[in-house]
Amino acid sequence: MHKTIGKRVLLSLFLVLVMAFLSACGGSGGKEKDSTAADTGKTAQTSQEKESDPEEEPLADVNPIPEDGIITKDQFAAVAGEERDISFVGETDDGIKYTWVYHAAQIQNPEDQNLKIRFDREDLEDIKKQANNANDALKMTMYGKGLICPPTLTVEIPEAWQSDMGMLLKEQNDKLAKMSDVTILSQPSEDKESDADKKDSADKEAAETTTEENSGIDSLTKPKKGTTSLTMTVLSLDGACYVVGGITDPDKLAAINHQMQSVASANANQGYDGETVEAPEDEGSVSQSGDSSSSGQSGSGNSKSGDVANKDKKSSSGKKSGSSSGSSDKSSGGNSGSNSGSSSGGTCTISINCSTILNNMDNLTAGKEDFVPSDGWILKATQVSFSEGESVHDVLQRVCKEKGIHMESAFTPAYDSAYVEGINQLYEFDCGELSGWMYNVNGWFPNYGCSKYTLSDGDVINWVYTCDLGKDVGDNSMY
């Protein structure tokens, strides 16, 4: 009889363990079934084998872009983490030269990169119009998937743009969204005198006669002979992007305004009220373009003002496409790229947004509706200071604790990183099976987990909820 009990105890202990395991797993509704969904490393970090194909040469400081555009994972793996810049240079038939600069220290999870670009300079009137009547535009079509670090792209085009301020736009959810700022350096070829003469005469002509008014404006806005180099931080290799340029130089603006006004008064058209049409600033103004172009001649004008009014419009426009507002409008872009690990503490900006759920409310798990704010912002952009070596995950955890926002994360050994399962009761898979939390820093969605991203001063972190594996928030690395 004694033995029977002993056996029973053994058996029951075993069953208890099984039950406990089952209950612990079942309680969360199978939350951890598939942790590939969101921000944890999008692709497993596999072996760092350095042996590469015989045809693949190790990367030099400057490399030509191969015919198919692909720089392989192994090539990047060989240099990942080194403190050096690696350039890839390509050239198209119509004389456009482009250079990618990868900062090898930022690469944590090497992948194949397709660096080929196709450029189009024709048929962009539509885009210019959408971009609030931009002065210049250039279409770039890319073929790659996710980026392994935010590289700098320099494009040299064989014409001198008059624009002095530019930005990189991307079509997202049928709207243009800003990806980053573009630095425009144009070098007109040496025929400045004739140019100046032309301008003067154009001024006079415009003052005297109303028939040739356009030539004056053209001389101020149309590209001249020469070269322009456009420098930008690229945040996604996804499909078509547009570089648009506008004029912000006050002197030049005054000249153009003058032109415009003389034209307007001469034509006795609807009065040009002096209210200015802005440079393409963000998606808010981009979607505003329809209205401003309605005022006849001024529609093609290029007068710019500060972008203060722009912000108001944006906030009142209320048509946040969620994803784009979450992912892109805070991206300071430029060169504030992250030098992982190389900086001491500082301040960063963090925001948490789930506005993609607003478009997918019927997919949302029952009972979670109360946790989706009506504007999608769980945490609006907030400045926080951090100490040296802190990661995106540390900052998120701290901020959520301070603000009393619920947040759950789990360490995932496969990616050697924390995985954010839910914020504010909104968990992965709560809004369809492709949903979950993702993060971007300065607009770039890193292809590794959030506790492996070491912050540097001035970083802008956005936590965004995706309902479509990143597609709806501007990341194309997973489909």
Partner: protein, 313 residues
């Protein structure tokens, strides 16, 4: 040993356990769980006696409950009421604690119901119900469902046999004991494998699952089965209707939401119907015991009276 409900038609027994387990597992409402657990324990007490029930619950169910209740808040962190933070930075929430408790009671109820199930639904009943429909699967299921009690019994037999040759697990020092234990386990495994083959061969020899094979069964669907079935269907459909209308809805995930408490007429009906449904075997058993007692008393009384009368005369 067998109670009244066990003598009812096997289909009723099966329906009862399917219904009661289904509601217990899918309606995680605290009051429903409470009713279920109380009924399960009372039925188990009737079937096995309070001593065995208490012992089973203490050594088996209670640890499961404690582990389930303790583990849930450690691994699940949803919920709006943050009580504190765990060392790994995740919140410790009231909701997950409550859900852990609910799960603990759910497990306890399910385990207790299953312990009743193995007593009531013997393999002959199971095979009677499903042998025609799904011969192979029903045999496997009936073997799997009695696996643990069957093995425990056989392990006792083997241990007793070994004890007779001086190889008891309470003999000698710790190493000798372990060795004896391993021997017993080894014999048990060998026996299990052999038993499985023998069962398969034996069932094959008898033409189990063959076309045209008949099986004798003594089960009849009587009038009392009909009444009982009507009662079960009535109460169970009230429960199902109430559950589908959300009268006993409960949710623990972001916020604790428990419908039907304080009692509304609708939820009262649902709880009442479920209580009657769960308590049905207990009611039947108590009713029959009471009836027998009355009959016996009557019989005794008449006997004594007649005896006295006889003595007087």
């Amino acid at each position: 040993m067998s109670d009244t409900f066990s003598t009812y038609h096997p289909s009723l027994n099966m329906l009862f356990f399917v219904g009661v387990l289904g509601v217990t597992m899918f309606v995680t409402h605290p009051i429903i769980l409470g009713i279920s657990l109380v009924s399960a324990i009372s039925y188990a007490t009737l079937l096995k006696g309070w001593r065995r029930t208490l012992r089973n619950n203490l050594i088996f169910t209670l640890p499961v409950m404690i582990i389930a209740a303790a583990f849930n808040p450690l691994f699940n962190h949803y919920g709006v009421t943050i009580l504190g933070y765990l060392p790994n930075g995740n919140p410790f929430t009231l909701e997950s604690c409550v859900y852990g408790l609910v799960m603990a009671f759910l497990l306890a109820a399910v385990i207790t119901w299953f312990s009743c199930y193995t007593d009531v639904m013997t393999s002959d009943k199971f095979i009677y119900l499903f042998g025609r429909l799904i011969p192979a699967l029903s045999l496997v299921l009936s073997m799997a469902l009695r696996f643990v009690p069957h093995f425990a019994r056989q392990a006792g037999v083997i241990a007793d046999g070994q004890k007779c040759v001086g190889r008891s697990t309470s003999n000698g020092n710790i190493f000798a004991r372990i060795k004896h234990g391993i021997t017993i386990f080894s014999i048990l495994v060998t026996w299990a494998l052999e038993n499985a083959i023998e069962t398969a061969d034996s069932m094959k020899c008898r033409g189990y699952g063959e076309k045209g094979r008949t099986a004798f069964a003594i089960f009849r669907f009587d009038r009392r089965d009909g009444y009982c079935l009507a009662g079960m269907v009535l109460t169970f459909s009230i429960v199902l209707f109430g559950a589908s209308r959300g009268y006993v809805f409960s949710r623990y995930n972001p916020k604790i939401l428990v419908e039907g408490w304080p009692l509304t007429p609708a939820s009262f009906c649902v709880f009442g119907a479920f209580l009657i449904f769960c308590m049905l075997p207990v009611i039947l058993e108590l009713a029959s015991r009471y009836m027998w007692k009355r009959r016996r008393e009557m019989a005794d009384g008449s006997l004594i009276r007649s005896y006295r009368l006889w003595e007087l005369e």
